[in-house]
Structures are given as C-alpha cells and as structure tokens.
C-alpha cells in the first residue's frame, strides 16, 4: 500500500512538473524579452552618456520632425565663429557625419547587418571628441588618412599602417590607416562601423563643403552647461539650437531604444502566443486532475467541506504551480536573454557582455502572467470540482459538469462569428467603425476568439476525425511517409556530419539518433498496422472517449501551427505577388542594391554607370522617412528622367514631368482608401525642411520595385532630405542600350561595380529571387520563434496522454492479463498521440489558411494581389504534426508498456 501511495505522490509530482513546465516556458520567454531589451536600453544609455564626455553644449539645426536616422540637417560653418564668440565658451569645433564603408585587405566591403556604416570628422581638440579614444596611432590629418573603430580592425585583421579602401558618397578611394579608436570601454558604437577623417576631407567626401552637422562646445571652468546653452542659443541664427550635451545624450539614446521598440513588441507577441498555448495545457491538466481526484473531493464534501472550500483547494494547487513555475521561468529568462544577446552578436550587434539587469518590473510581470494564467485556467475545473456530489465518493461516476453539446455549439459558433467579424473589421478597418479599438488589437482579439471557438467546436469533430484517422490505410500512409522522412533525414544528418567531419559529427550525432529513433518508431508502427487492426481500433475508441480532452490537447498544437500556416500562406503570397509584379514592373536589366539590411551605397556608382556607352538609362532611387500627423511613413525618390525606361510605374494619372517639377505621386489604391485625388495636398513633415503641404501630382499602381506608397523626384528629395543616410542610393536600376548583348552589358555593370563590393548586381531573375529570399529569411525567423509554442503543445500532448494512461491503469492491466503484448500497448498509445497531433495540425492548417487568406486580401493595396497557397510546405506541416505526435508518445507509451500487470489490476 505504501509503495502504491508513494508512486501516486510521485505521479502527482511529475504531473505538476509537466504542467509547470508549460507555464515556465512562457514566462521565461516573457522575462527573457524584458531582460534582453533592458540590456540593450542600458547599453545605449551607457554608451551615449559616455559619448558626450568632455562636452557641455551641442549646437545643431533645429528640427520640427525628429524622425528616422537622418538627424538634423547640416548648416553653414560660419556659425562656428558666432559660437566661439559667446561668453564662457572655452572651446568649440564643428564636425560632419556621413556614410562611409570600410573595406578589408581583400578589398571586400565590411557591411554589418542592421547597424549603420558611419563616417565622421576629427577635431583638433581631442577632449571634444567625447568618449572616442585613440587606442593606437594618431589622428588623421591628411586627405588620404583614416582611423577606424577597434572592432572593425580586430575582426578584419586591419592594422595601423595598412592601406585600405573606404567608400563614401563621393567615391571609393584608398587611405592609410593611421589610428584605431575605441568608444570608452566599447570597441564600437552599438555594432556600427566607424571611419574618421580630418575635417576638410570629411566635408568633401560627404558633399558637405563649408557645412557642419553639429558643433560641440566645452565651457569655461565653473560655467553651467544650461546657462551656456541658453546664451549660445540667443546668439544663434534662426533655425539653429543649442542643447546641453547631457540632454542630447538622453535624446539620442531614447531614439535608438525606440527604434528597437518593435523588437520588444514582436518578441512579446510570440511570448504571448506561448503563454496562451500554455493556458490550454494547464486547463486540461487541472480538468483531468479534478476528474481523477473526484472521489477524494467527494469524500471531503461528504464529511462537510463546502463547495467553495473545494474550489479553493484546486485554486491553491494552481497558485503553487503558478508561483514555482514563474520563479523558475524568470530565472530561465536570464538564459534566454543571454541567448538573444548571442544571436544579436552573431548578427553583428556588439553588445557588451554586461550582466542583464533583472528589473523589478520583469519579476512582477513574470509572476503576474505565470500565476494569473495558471489560476485563471484552473478556475473552471475548480468550479466543476465543487459541483461533485458527495455520493460520488461511493461510486466511480463521471459527474463532470459539462455544457450540453448544444450550448457548446451555440457558444462556439457565436465566438467564431464574433472573432471572424473582428478580424475582418480590423483588417478592412475603414469599412466598419471600431470605436476605441485599435485595428491591430481588433485583429488580435479576433484571432484569440477564433482559437477559443475552434477549440470549443472541435470536440464535435473529434469522433469523425478519429474514425477517419483510425483507418488502417490512413495510418499506414502517415507512418510510411513519416518514417521515410525521418530515416532519410537522420541518415542525411549523419552523412552531413561525416562529410564535414570532426566537431560536426559530434554535434549532429545526438539529433540524428533522436530523429532515427522516432523514424524507427514510425517504421515499426507502419509495419505493424498491416497486420494489426486491434490497436488502431482501440486507440480510436480511446481518443473518442473524452472528446473535449482530445480537442483541448489538439487545440494547443493548433495555435502554433495555425500561425506557422498563416506565415506560410502570407509569405508565399508575398513571394508570388512580388514575382509577378517584378516581372511586369521591372524594365531594367539590372538592379543594384546592398544585400540584406545593409542600407545604401555611394551615388558615385550610379554616376559612373551613366557614362558607359553600353548603358541606356540609370535610375537612382533613394529612401526617405517622413512624418504624417505623428506617424512615420516612407517614400521613394526616383530619377524622373529615366524611371520610365527602368520601371513600369503604371501611372494612372499625371505625368513624370509633373513629378520632376515637384509634388508627390501616391499609390492609386492608397489614395482611393484615403479619399485623395490629384490636386489635393498632403501634409508631409521632414527633418530638414519641416512641414510642407505637398500637392499630389499623380497616381500609380506599381508597388514592388519602388516598395513605397509615395514617390517623389530626386530634386524634391534633395530639398527636403539632408544629412546622414540620405546621401546614398538605396537602389539603382540599369537599362542596357539597344543591341548590347546581355553578356556585354553585364560585364560593363560588374566592372563599374567592382569597387563596390557591398553592392550586388542582379538581373531580373536574380532580383526576383533575392526578394523571395528576403521573405524566406523572415519566415524562418518567425517560425523559429513559434517553435516554442509548438514545443509547449507537444509537452501538453505527452502530459495529457500520461494522465489518461494513469486513469486507465486497470484497463491496461486487464489488457496485458488477457494477452496484449507490450508492443501493442506502445502502439495503442502512439496511435492515440498521432491522432491527437494530426487533428491539431489539420485544425491549425484550416485556421491558419483563413488568417492567411484574410490578411492577404487586406494587403491588396500593398501590392500583394496574388493569393498563393504553398501546398508543399503545408504537406510538410502535416508530416511535422505526425512527428510531433510520435515524439509526444514516447515517454507515455514506455510508461504504459512497463506497468506491472498485478499492480495495475489491483490499482484503485
């Protein structure tokens, strides 16, 4: 008896641990996100607090719209004399900033993914350089000298004395590396590369002759920076301002943090998905626990416990699980944050390895979410427990308080209806007034409702689905395909390990063996199902006996896979649309751009291409951010003289000549949505020129090559955009002259671009492919983040199976007694797991398809006008679902097969 009791306790522990695991994973993700983004924030604020060391006041152009990366526009250098004349100024110097790409010794451009490639100028008074310190060498003084950051130097084995190339807006030229600098303790500026020139050289290279980007001032001893800033401000001409260095540091660090705010939001959304999935698992677990402890709870009622006392018993158990899981989750969040930092490092962000700060806010939110979700999920089962009548103590009766099938149907359909309506209203927001609801929030709540409703409704399809899946040929097909994929994949992994040799073989061996093990299970199942009709039938019956349990377990998997399907459909539609549109819209033979997120490149390249006789037309395109009533919008500036030869803009109204003269072209669909037409004006806020009322001079439809809803001319751009980031081309489209063979034109373009190794030359097909590759990269990233939610669901399936087996102990004992083999028990459990997983997968695919189709439809005006369903990827998802099911089955099946027959039969 004692042994059995101990085993029961252990089973409870395991059960609670598995439940806690799902909460823990979600909380860890949330805490990790906060810790990680806090680390970034602190890194930036440290960096900038330090960056203005030795400076008291910064003088720059006043700007109404502080947007994008451009910063305030440059100003006349004569202002420096004015500043120097102000009382209390000890030293003041001007500097310029611009675009500069450093090349390594092989002549390859060094382009970090994400962070910018900065160029700057040196000052004579090195104390005014903030925290920039020369680690080795001396400051550049001649036109052919440069200094670079320590990180770039170390990573590319560049040393003082080397002659290296640097690309600037003017050209690609060679410079002698005269010094290597650090930024305080840091080797670089948040991942950016830095090339410093002497002032005159920098002004020339950045096209800023006679101009400064800013002036930094050090005051006399004992002069307060605030007072000094005020006095300088009074002396400055209109349009200029003087701010204290400390407030400028704060502003810059804030704006950098803000620009990374989307990262926090995105990560938190994925964390929320994981928590939502965890809630399903917890609710299911507690429902099963209550069911299993029914007699115990009924006994308590029989001896006088009130219903609310029973509720409290269950809720307190949930509370304990929630608290423990949250605390462990928060600690595990530190690990996740470190992992995220490592990923950022791999992407080129050099974040100092400071200990990630664990803010009180992180702890509170983590515990609130973990405990809140656990308790909320346990409340329904707890209330159900309180309705167990005392008489149930005497008999083993199923008294779970459940909604009638009809009520479930009504509630489910109502939820589904409201959810779908919210999604549609949110996506096509201008149709219905949502009142205070933000459109994105509406879509989010709608999706949540759809998931809940489908989970409620799906208990009605469990029966037919299980009967269908229980057919032997269905199981045979599923297991044969799964076995082939897994065994092929496992052997492939080992082959890969052998080919690459050494360390790789150790790295792939364990995953490969795991893959092979599940593959072997699939093969064993496939082999058995040919002869054995008993276990599939039994598994079908088992999965049908508690349809809601099966439905909830399947639904947990559904959520993650629905989002994966959604991204698949949306991504494939984007790829198909972009492919078709590029085919139609791109007249150019070649497109030149920087790979990935590397930003722009020197306009000198376009200039040199335009001089080649084999080239008919070169169109420079530049990218700009502007402010529209407080929100950021993008525009693309194009060369109106040549754009017609390189890009088919599909102009619906207006002419390129009008655009060249000023004004803006608006995407016809966007204009339609906003009720705008030619002749109207749009208020556009620019960092350089402030608020402008810009007339709409035309409408166009092309959306994939120009990638923006607003198009302007280059002259308009030059008037309204100045400063860092606007001095480079974003895309250059090249059309070869009539009669020039493709090989010839390609050679010419490649030769011109030879010095610009950060630029990739692509013909039409390659360009199309590169656009699709970018979509694929994002898809991989999103799906990687969704893996967590899927893993939680797989743990949930295993947990539910284990609990069900626990419930069926005597049944399994009986089966074994009358001659069922261990293999048959393993198979029965595996089949059931497979059925649950496939039901969840198919539900996920259906829901995800709906999301995908709806969102794709809503993005029509963004140029996504082709709906494409990636059949192959979705079929692969079904196989993945099967693998998940088999994986979840392993431990419960093992446990079931090893039950001691006598103990099982005697089990109460």
């Amino acid at each position: 008896m004692i042994r059995t009791a101990l085993k029961t306790v252990f089973a409870h522990k395991l059960r609670l641990a598995l439940t806690a695991l799902s909460v823990m994973t979600g909380v860890a993700f949330i805490a990790g996100t906060f810790i990680f983004t806090d680390t970034i924030d602190r890194t930036f604020s440290d960096l900038f607090a330090d960056a203005f060391a030795g400076q008291d006041v910064v003088v720059q152009s006043e700007t109404e719209f502080d947007i994008g990366f451009a910063g305030p526009p440059p100003f006349d250098e004569a202002v420096l004399d004015t500043v120097r004349g102000v009382d209390g100024v000890a030293a003041a110097e001007g500097s310029v900033a611009g675009f500069a790409v450093i090349y390594d010794n092989e002549g390859e451009a060094i382009v970090p993914q994400g962070p910018p490639t900065l160029g700057g100028s040196w000052m004579e008074d090195e104390q005014l350089m903030g925290n920039i310190r020369i680690r080795e060498g001396r400051r550049p003084t001649a036109p052919d000298e440069v200094s670079i950051d320590a990180s770039t130097a170390d990573n590319n084995e560049l040393a003082v004395g080397d002659v290296i190339k640097v690309q600037t807006p003017s050209d690609v030229a060679e410079y002698e590396l005269v010094s290597i600098v650090g930024f305080g303790e840091s080797d670089n500026l948040a991942g950016a590369t830095f090339a410093g020139f002497d002032l005159r050289t920098a002004q020339r290279l950045f096209g800023l002759d006679g101009q400064f980007s800013s002036i930094v001032v050090r005051g006399d001893e004992g002069v307060s920076p605030d007072g000094l800033a005020t006095r300088i401000g009074l002396a400055l001409p209109d349009g200029m301002e003087a701010v204290t260095a400390s407030s400028e540091a704060e502003a810059q660090s804030e704006s950098l943090s803000e620009s990374l705010g989307f990262l926090r939001t995105a990560l938190l959304v994925f964390a929320a998905v994981a928590v939502f999935v965890a809630a399903f698992i917890i609710q299911n677990t507690f429902r099963i626990i209550v069911r299993q402890r029914q007699q115990e709870l009924a006994l308590m009622r029989a001896v006088g416990a009130t219903g609310s006392q029973v509720v409290w018993m269950v809720v307190i158990e949930a509370l304990v699980v929630g608290v423990v899981a949250s605390i462990v989750g928060i600690l595990f969040g530190l690990v996740i944050a470190t992992g995220l930092t490592a990923v950022m490092g791999a992407l080129g962000f050099d974040l100092p390895s400071t200990t990630a700060p664990l803010a009180l806010r992180t702890i509170l939110i983590g515990i609130a979410v973990g405990v809140g979700v656990t308790v909320a999920a346990a409340v329904l089962p707890a209330v159900r427990a309180s309705h167990i009548p005392p008489v149930a103590a005497m008999r083993d009766m199923d008294v779970s308080l459940r909604m009638s099938d009809r009520a479930r149907l009504v509630i489910g359909l109502a939820g589904l209806g409201i959810g779908v309506a919210l999604i549609i209203a949110g996506l096509f927001g201008d149709v219905i007034d949502l009142g205070p609801l933000n459109e994105l929030t509406a879509v989010g709540i709608g999706a949540l409702l759809v998931f809940l409703a489908v989970s409620i409704l799906s208990s009605s399809i469990v029966k037919p689905a299980a009967v269908f899946l229980g057919r032997r040929w269905v199981l045979l097909v599923i297991t044969v395909i799964t076995a082939l994929v897994l065994i092929g994949g496992g052997l492939g992994l080992i082959g890969f390990g052998v080919v690459t040799g050494g360390v790789a073989i150790v790295g792939v061996l364990i995953p490969a063996l795991m893959v092979l093990a599940i593959g072997a299970l699939a093969a064993y199942l496939a082999w058995s199902v040919v002869r054995d009709r008993f276990t599939p039938g039994l598994a079908t019956e088992n999965s049908m006996r508690k349809p809601r349990r099966t439905a909830t377990t399947a639904s947990a998997l559904m959520i993650g896979l629905a989002l994966v399907t959604f991204f698949f459909v949306l991504g494939d539609s984007i790829k198909a649309s972009a492919g078709a549109a590029i085919e139609e819209g791109l007249r150019a033979d070649y497109v030149l751009s920087v790979n990935g997120f590397g930003g722009g490149f020197s306009p000198a390249l376009a200039a040199s291409l335009a001089q080649q006789p084999e080239i008919a037309a070169v169109t420079s395109m530049r990218f700009g951010i502007w402010d529209r009533n407080g929100s950021e919008e993008f525009l693309m500036a194009v060369d109106t003289g040549t754009i017609d030869e390189t890009v088919f803009l599909d102009i619906r109204q207006g002419s390129l000549a009008d655009l060249g003269a000023g004004g803006v072209f608006v995407n016809a669909d966007v204009a339609d949505e906003q009720g705008l037409t030619v002749g109207d004006t749009i208020p556009m806020g620019f960092a350089t020129s402030g608020l402008q009322q810009v007339p709409i001079v035309g409408l166009y439809r092309e959306a994939n090559v120009v990638q923006s809803n607003y198009v302007v001319g280059l002259d308009f751009y030059a008037e309204n955009f100045e400063g860092f980031g606007t001095d480079t081309d974003f895309v250059v489209a090249v059309k070869a002259a009539e009669g020039v063979a493709p090989e010839t034109s390609r050679t010419v373009v490649e030769a011109a671009a030879a010095d610009y190794s950060n630029v990739t030359v692509r013909d039409q097909a390659e360009y199309r492919q590169s656009q699709q590759d970018q979509v694929n990269t994002v898809l991989v990233l999103f799906n990687a983040l969704l893996i967590l939610a899927v893993i939680i669901a797989i743990v949930g399936i295993a947990n539910t199976l284990a609990l069900s087996i626990f419930e069926r102990t005597r049944e399994i004992g009986l089966l074994r007694a009358v001659g069922t083999s261990r293999g048959q028990i393993v198979r029965t459990v595996s089949w059931e797991s497979l059925m649950v997983a496939i039901i969840g997968t198919v539900l996920g695919i259906v829901v995800g398809m709906f999301f995908g189709v709806a969102v794709t439809a809503a993005l029509r005006s963004q140029g996504i006008d082709v709906l494409s369903i990636p059949g192959g990827q979705i079929a692969a998802l079904v196989v993945f679902g099967a693998i998940a099911g088999l994986f979840a089955a392993i431990l419960p099946a093992r446990r079931a097969a090893r039950l001691n027959i006598l103990e099982a039969i005697a089990y109460e």
């Binding site: 009709r533 039994l538 006996r545 009986l814 001659g819 261990r822 039969i905």
Partner: protein, 246 residues
C-alpha cells in the same frame, strides 16, 4: 454427458513466494505442490492472507515464484520471457476477475472476442454463438459495459475467458460482487463449461456456496495446502470451515 480429460492442465511444484527481504520478508507461498487436473473445476479457499490469490497469480503467470516451478500444460513458466508469457496468456489461459473485467470502450461482443482481436485471429463463430447463447448475452452484444448489469458484465468476462478454448481458466472471486441470483447463474455456467466442454477452471473464492459448484476444493492456510475436499456441497464446505475455524 461428462467429458473427462485426464492430462494435467496446470501444476505447481515446490512453489515458494517471498515478498520483501530480511526481517520483513513474508512467505506468501511456502512450498506448494498442486496439480490441477484437466476438465476439472477446482476451487481454492482459505482465509485472508492465506496466499490463495498469490497462488492463482503465480499459476497464471501474472506473478513469478521465488522458488519452484509452474507448468501450464507442458510449458514451464519460469523460463518464459515477457513476450512468450503474453502469448501464453493470450492463447492458453483465460481470466475472470472480481471486478473491472471489461474494456469500457469496447462493446460486449468485442470484449468477448478480445483475446482473438489482440491476436488478430478469426473467431470460431459457432463456438462464439454457443457460448453467447448459453450465457444469454445474445441481445446485449452491441452494448458497452456501462450499459450492462453487474451479472451481465461478469458473464461477458466468462465468455471472453472461454472464447479461445484455453488450457485453463483462472477466476478470482468471480461472483464476489454479484447478488446471489446472478452469482448462481455465473457459477452454474462455469460448471456447465467444465462438464459439457471439458474446460479446466481454477477459482479463488471465500464463499462456500460458490465453492460448492466445484469438483474439488484446495484449502490454504499460511501459504500451505492444509486440506482438500472432493465433490463438495455448500453444507460440507461450511462444516469444514467451521471445524478449522476459518
């Protein structure tokens, strides 16, 4: 008509079963030599803790002896691995437990055919029909166990035990949870199976009335066989129990 089979259906020699170790060791079976004749209905009786259930479990291959041998037919169980034991239980042994005899998700018919379904063997339809009609289960075959009375459930279990024509059927207090009428019907059927079909049955019981249905009773106390009785009646059993104070 009496079908007599003379060969032994099951046999235990020198059977010792010890639970636990050292000071706490319990000798549940303490040197049992027993032979269960083919075509005979043997009852095993004894007070609580006498080892009667352990004897049954060891004979049936559900538990293993610490010392000694058990034979079912000519097969010695100690040398069998789990897989062979499973096959033996499937083909050569039938079980009727006191309660929880049926798989709740399967119909009565499927429960009866369970050993054959497990093996993937085709049932002997005539034999199945015969058992079912004798047991009066004909109109209940499509029902789930939860829709059957306790007596019906035990009769389904009995039908399952017989459906493979096993070498021996082990019954552990089969009528323990039944009212006297249902118990009488079940035990009457078991005796009929022995007399008419030559089935061998071994039954553990503490009920003298149930034991009176058997051909022979083995009395156990403290893990040893202490007595034996042939062709018992309920009165003679009660009388015997009174004499031994059990």
């Amino acid at each position: 008509m009496t079908a007599m089979t003379t060969a032994l259906a099951a046999r235990m020699s020198g059977g010792v079963k010890i639970y636990g170790e050292g000071d706490t060791a319990v000798r549940a079976l303490d040197g049992i030599d027993a032979e269960l004749g083919g075509g005979r209905f043997t009852a095993i009786m004894g007070p609580s803790g006498s080892g009667k259930s352990t004897l049954l479990h060891c004979l049936a291959g559900l538990d293993t002896l610490t010392e000694g041998q058990v034979y079912i037919g000519d097969t010695e169980l100690g040398s069998l691995r789990d897989k062979q034991l499973t096959l033996l239980r499937r083909r050569s042994v039938g079980f009727v437990f006191q309660s929880f005899n049926l798989i709740p998700t399967l119909s009565a018919e499927e429960n009866v055919l369970l050993p054959l379904l497990i093996a993937g063997d085709a049932p002997d339809r005539a034999w199945f029909d015969q058992i079912v009609s004798i047991l009066g289960l004909g109109d209940r075959l499509r029902h789930r166990p939860s829709e059957l009375s306790g007596g019906q459930q035990q009769r389904v279990a009995a039908a399952r035990a017989l459906v493979t024509r096993p070498t021996i059927v082990f019954a552990d207090e089969p009528s323990g949870n039944l009212d006297s009428q249902s118990a009488g019907e079940l035990l009457g059927f078991m005796r009929r199976a022995v007399k008419e079909f030559g089935q061998t049955i071994a039954m553990v019981t503490h009920d003298p009335v149930a034991a009176s249905y058997s051909d022979r009773i083995i009395f156990l106390a403290d893990g040893r066989i202490v007595d034996e009785m042939h062709e018992p009646t309920s009165d003679s059993v009660i009388d015997r129990m009174r004499r031994f104070g059990t």
